[in-house]
Symmetry: C2
């Protein structure tokens, strides 16, 4: 048995101001290396910083030519004031004048298969994904997933602060929540099981327990199309809440949550905002448009006739976004009252117009990022709806217990993390907002 | 198009002190109802409170006999000071004297299949799980998963505050990370795919990107045993960090993280602590014991001979916990240097004793809750190890890119949320710390 004192471990934050002109040792990976006649600029990547270090070739024992991008090194040097322009660097007002470099490890590649030192990587999307372990080290890629992390963290923290309880629901399910054929099957000890298309049933059940719940977790859709809008596995930010007056309560909670996320990004991700040249949005007021009206606007203003279609076409999402920016001065359009025929069985129909639902999508910068709505909450309503749709009620028995046990009026929504990240960061393909995207052709890395 | 002002939505926190003797409306579910000659005590469950309301039968229009446990109601009444003893209630220094009750919805069951109003539910474990939508509404069950939520939240927040970046890695994988046959298979568009046994490969890849990363997500183990220690799907709290000096750095980070979690529980979960009669632990100092020494202690002290076994038996985990409490005054025992033959290929062997690894488990109150260790970080070391183990290197090509691209010395660990929750809350079966447990016999609810 050995016993040691518990201490905090260091190596993350540096108080540059108080260490000015003093010597420090920093460990990190070589992000970039520019060799010049007198020595080199070596950019060091640590968990918090991407900092410039300056090497005078006469003062260090390792010649700069023997250093290599993506080597792990320990740098000993003096902190100096600096005035750096490169937006990929942080901090930009300090640098380190190197006295000694120790190489800890080097890449096995003789030449890295992609040059990650250029401002933009010149690489085809497929190769970028094939080589994720390397290409994710590029500053722009790292910035994207710092934004994604901030979204996840704040989604949880904001909702926790307003009475929502975090839940973790199972991803191996005995039934599909969203219906349709887009579901992955697996063998579960001899039984047929399914991967969760959404945490829908579980978050409803948990509204009966806690009243307000949220979940951050993977969902799986066996959709066969390979588009810039789809992933076969993505991260869903879900919440569900009881005692709503109408689905407008859900829209309000979503708008407040998104604003909290945007404020968090403004506060914590200044470097990423600059590097990606991001325009961080803000929801000033809530704009809702009925589904049918979107068809009408697109027809009248853009002469595209989708009237009668039971869903919005991607083109319509783009056009209504353009219209919203121009005519309503908003980037956020809540499209309401989707047709009942296109919404899952648990959706509440509008009592005044039963062919429409008390549901909504949120369209943000040309793309639907949320589907939500009020749910049925009475057992008898489920019975009627499921019989009408000729569903096998037996299969849903354990879910239906929630309604047999009593449930308040409730609703909720799912927000796609990758779609939100992509739209905030200005990426044209949602796959670029997934660390390791899964599509019909891609299961690796 | 409709436009509304964005406002915060209310209905969560109540400022009881400033509303004393004033009228409020509170919506919630009836947690309990005790009918007496003069009226009733009605316990109302809201997202934040489980509050006592007092009904005088002469002043309300709905007779108490027509109310039902697990109905959703709106209560209008006056806030009064109170002095309540029942630990399942919160607050206990205020109550509501009811003027009016409106029933919003009622259960469909005529009699609830389990009585959730008793201090302890009298129900067999299997039935408790079968009826989760109802049984989770019991105060003790709700307390357990409030603790689980606090653990998840603080794990993320503490690590974020010390330079760790949250990642979300895919759960549909092309290879298994942990080896062995305990892996779920699925058909992925005609290809064989696997459910993630752990985020191991991805968090290592991401150390190359961010230096320090964490993930909170489901993992899947197709283990065929049905014990009180196993789940086939559980939530893994993972971190991985670069530039470690040794695995002691990982142990320090884990101890600090656990202490942050324990402090958060103390701070935010006072009611749950009282209700579950929890003893919230604290790691005062780090106690490590080599694997072989555990065998020796168990043999010498308890006369049980497991020497030569390459893993610890559940009985040994119990005995060494007992020993640790008595002899070392700690509930946390870091068992180090597990045999190489029982650790996955990516584990770093001890250079001085290659049959042992630079790895550890954490045993807390009789149960292993963590496995961690230093990993190989040189591509050449992976090549040698994988050849030695006759592994198919081709299969791991995309993972191995990380090491070809250069990696710092690193390591990490996985902490089982359900196991940690169960041990903190004093539950005898880890399944009781899973909202919807999955085992060889259970896929529902």
């Amino acid at each position: 048995m050995q016993e040691i004192v518990l201490e905090k471990i260091s190596g993350y934050s540096i108080d540059f101001n108080s260490l000015l002109e003093k010597e420090i040792i920093v460990k990190g990976m070589i992000q970039n290396l520019r060799i010049l006649s007198w020595g080199a600029f070596l950019i060091l990547r640590t968990p918090e910083y991407t900092i410039q270090t300056i090497i005078d070739k006469d003062t260090i024992s390792v010649p700069p030519e023997q250093l290599m991008v993506e080597s792990a090194v320990a740098v000993r040097g003096i902190i100096k004031k600096a005035n750096i322009k490169d937006k990929a660097l942080y901090p930009r007002d300090f640098e380190i004048h190197v006295k000694e470099i120790t190489v800890i490890s080097t890449p096995a590649y003789e030449v890295l298969p992609v040059d990650t030192t250029k401002k933009e990587m010149v690489v085809h999307l497929d190769k970028k994904f094939d080589l994720r372990p390397l290409t994710l080290r590029h500053p722009r890629e790292r910035a994207v997933f710092k934004i994604a992390a901030a979204i996840c963290n704040e989604f949880g923290n904001y909702l926790s602060s307003t009475g929502f309880t975090r839940i973790c629901s199972p991803k191996i399910n005995s039934t599909g929540a969203e219906g349709g054929a887009n579901i992955f099957k697996l063998d579960y000890f001899g039984r047929e099981a399914f991967l969760a298309q959404s945490p829908q049933f579980y978050k409803q059940i948990m509204v009966g327990v806690y009243g307000r719940v949220f979940e951050i977790g993977p969902v799986f859709r066996a959709e066969k199309h390979a588009t810039s809008r789809h992933l076969n596995e993505y991260v869903s930010l879900d919440f569900e809440m009881g005692f709503i007056e109408s689905f407008m309560d859900l829209i309000k909670v979503e708008a407040n949550t998104l604003n909290a996320i945007f404020e968090r990004i403004e506060k914590d991700c200044g470097n990423e905002i600059e590097l990606l040249d991001m325009k961080v949005p803000k929801i000033e007021r809530i704009v809702t448009v009925p589904f049918d009206e979107v068809h009408e606007i697109v027809y009248k203003k853009y002469n595209k006739d989708y009237r009668g279609e039971t869903d919005l076409a991607p083109e319509e999402e783009k056009l209504i976004s353009e219209y919203g920016e121009n005519e309503w001065n908003t980037e956020f359009i809540f499209v309401t009252h989707y047709p009942s025929s296109k919404r899952p069985f648990y959706t509440m129909d509008d009592p005044e117009h039963p062919e429409k639902t008390l549901s909504f999508d949120l369209i943000f910068r040309n793309l639907e990022i949320t589907t939500g709505g009020q749910r049925l909450h009475l057992y008898s309503d489920y019975m009627n709806k499921m019989k009408k749709l000729s569903m096998n009620i037996e299969t849903f028995q354990s879910y239906l217990q929630a309604f047999q046990s009593g449930m308040p009026p409730h609703g909720g929504l799912g927000l796609g993390l990758e779609r939100l990240t992509a739209q905030i960061c200005g990426l044209s393909n949602v796959k670029e907002a997934s660390l390791f995207p899964r599509d019909i052709n891609r299961l690796e890395p």
